[in-house]
């Protein structure tokens, strides 16, 4: 099992200064560049520590937001590929359908893969809806563009003998021949995220690593859809390393200490939805059926606890989110039990994407959280015997 340390590289000092929106239209005068520099350096230091502690690394990008200063994943990847030694470098993700130049994406990611000597994991995502207002790419064709850019990047990374041509409605190139080509062959592993069973089945067919976020004890049906798509291509049951799950993690020597950290790490789900409402649902981003439900005032699906209770990630208590399998929080023993119980629910899950820092959590608290987790929980998770893939399929 692999565990990836993730933070959004936030600028929490602006979080109480917004007027209903932390994203897209929050004035950037609220950011002090000198303080932002301190924060970036601190976050890189903490990822270096994660590298030394035996954790892997996950990074991402968002735009025009105080919740995440990483506006281009490539900058973070470039720094980390040089200053870390062994950790896998997962970007989850790169919102590839929002970029106007996929050739540049293929070049950037190949270069990162070479500099890091083959440590890149390429997560391609459609991105959250509010990114559309910034990128200004047509949300109606987001999905179609996503798969075209995916096809282009894979072809660019795997073509080695002559330039190729690409002329579609969206993109036009006559001489594609990237230098450097990627370190890993045929290309760095591909990941993606979803909450939908239809997309999970498609990702299964492709055999990519699939991650979900906030799905808690409602994760299993999405994983099972992946298993179906995976096996329909004539493969056996997918191994646990095809599955990833993003969970919030807070570990303490005592339960009280862990819960104090848990409150802080939950700053992420409690703020990530604060955005001017019209930016949350650009036209065509969701299906017509989903929009009809929104017009009727029907809410979004919530996370589910083991006993079927719904929990709102933005408002739930520490205990609610522990029950929902969204937050793993407690002493090392408790956290180990929570994670392994959740893996059982999933029928196997080989990549924990651990948000071990969020919001205003201090450097000292973050170091303590990562260190205790790595010393007391990680070795046991590495030893843990995942459910056999065939058992998960038989249980469907």
């Amino acid at each position: 099992m692999k565990v990836f340390q993730f933070t959004e590289q936030p600028y929490p000092e602006a979080w109480d200064k917004h007027e209903g929106s932390l994203r897209v239209n929050l004035p950037n005068r609220l950011l002090d560049p000198a303080h932002a520099a301190d924060l970036f350096h601190r976050y890189y230091d903490e990822w270096q520590l994660a590298d030394e502690l035996g954790l892997e690394i996950m990074i991402n990008e968002h735009h025009q937001t105080a919740t995440c200063m990483s506006a281009t994943c490539v900058v973070t990847l470039a720094v980390l590929s040089r200053i870390t030694k062994r950790a896998r470098l997962l970007v989850l993700g790169y919102p590839i359908a929002n970029r106007p130049d996929p050739l540049r994406i293929a070049e950037e990611l190949s270069t990162i893969d070479v500099i890091s000597r083959g440590r890149l994991e390429m997560g391609f995502v459609k991105g959250v809806p509010q990114e559309v207002a910034v990128a200004n790419m047509n949300p109606v064709f987001q999905n179609q563009r996503f798969w075209e850019v995916h096809d282009f990047i894979i072809k660019a990374m795997t073509s080695h003998d002559a330039p190729f041509n690409w002329e579609s409605e969206n993109f036009h190139y006559r001489h594609v021949n990237i230098w450097p080509r990627p370190y890993q062959q045929p290309h760095p592993p591909v990941w993606s995220t979803t909450g939908s069973k239809a997309t999970a089945e498609k990702l299964g067919g492709l055999g990519y690593t699939m991650a979900t976020l906030g799905t808690g004890y409602g994760t299993r049906p999405i994983y099972d859809a992946y298993r179906k798509g995976y096996m329909e291509k004539g493969r056996g049951a997918p191994p646990p390393d095809r599955f990833a799950y993003l969970g919030f993690v807070a570990v303490g020597h005592t339960e009280a200490e862990a819960r104090r950290l848990g409150e802080m790490v939950l700053a992420y789900p409690r703020t990530s939805g604060i955005v001017h409402p019209p930016f949350r649902n650009p036209p065509g981003f969701l299906s017509v059926g989903d929009n009809v439900r929104i017009l009727k005032g029907e809410g979004k699906p919530r996370s589910y606890t083991k006993d079927g209770r719904t929990v709102n990630m933005a408002k739930g208590s520490v205990q609610d989110l522990i029950d929902a399998g969204v937050l793993f929080c407690g002493t090392p023993d408790q956290v180990y039990d929570q994670i392994t119980d959740f893996i059982g629910h999933c029928g196997g899950m080989g990549n924990l994407l651990m948000m071990g820092h969020a919001g205003g959590m201090s450097h000292e608290d973050t170091v303590a959280n990562l260190t205790l987790f790595s010393k007391e929980v990680l070795p046991r998770l590495k030893e843990f015997r995942q459910p056999a893939p065939e058992e998960a399929v038989a249980a469907e």
Partner: protein, 272 residues
Amino acid sequence: MTAADAGKIRNVQVSGTDLELNEWGSGAPLLFLHPGFPLGRFDPAEPVLKALAKSFRVLAPTHPGFGRADAPDWMTSIDDLSYFYLDLLDALALENVVLAGASFGGWIAAEMAVKSTARLSRLVLANPVGVKFGDRETRDFVDVYSIFDKEIAELGYADAKIGTPDLAAASEDMLFHIARSREATARYGWSPYWHNPKLKTRLHRIDIPTLVLWGEADRITRAGYGKSYADTIPGAKFVSVKGAGHYPHRETPDLFAEAVTAFAAEKTRELA
């Protein structure tokens, strides 16, 4: 909607694409192109169609992607729609057509007229969009996707109540159409936002009498936009409409129909 309120709705195939076409009345043909709706929908029972049908054979299509009929994958721009409707005129062998479009429909109509006026006699543009007059840092249209529905209704209508769909009372079918309209408006007009950068330099090609009707309470478009539009089309008349905003065909349907009918009846030399 009862049969008496609506015209005859039929599905026609144009260049291999399904089109919902609503027909009313008899007489000289008038093709009415509805606006895109970020809020609400095009209703085939719009009162303006009945008012126009007193004088015309009204043909009012629901643009592909807006109603039940899907847009084909290749149809992604107003340019595509303009060729598609020129194909419709060919397919129906219509001559001397009065072409009237509102907002987004006005943009389609202008894009048709710069390509060919062979089957057209008159062009009526009601609060059309589609041309960029502002500089690169000045939007000509409010970004409707960045404001609340309530604000769209307030900026788009003289009387915001007329532009506010009653979602609580709406049927599933109505909600479907509202969601489709919002999506389809973005399909064709997301970026460049509600305009074709080339259209301004092509408007001089329009060689038929043209009327720009302007609902004067329109605050979706920048002040002076309608006058600039009329000034760019050779010989175009500009008439402002009181009591209406961005959608005069909907807020003042009788006035709209009267203005179109009177304009169509004017002799060409009177317009010169």
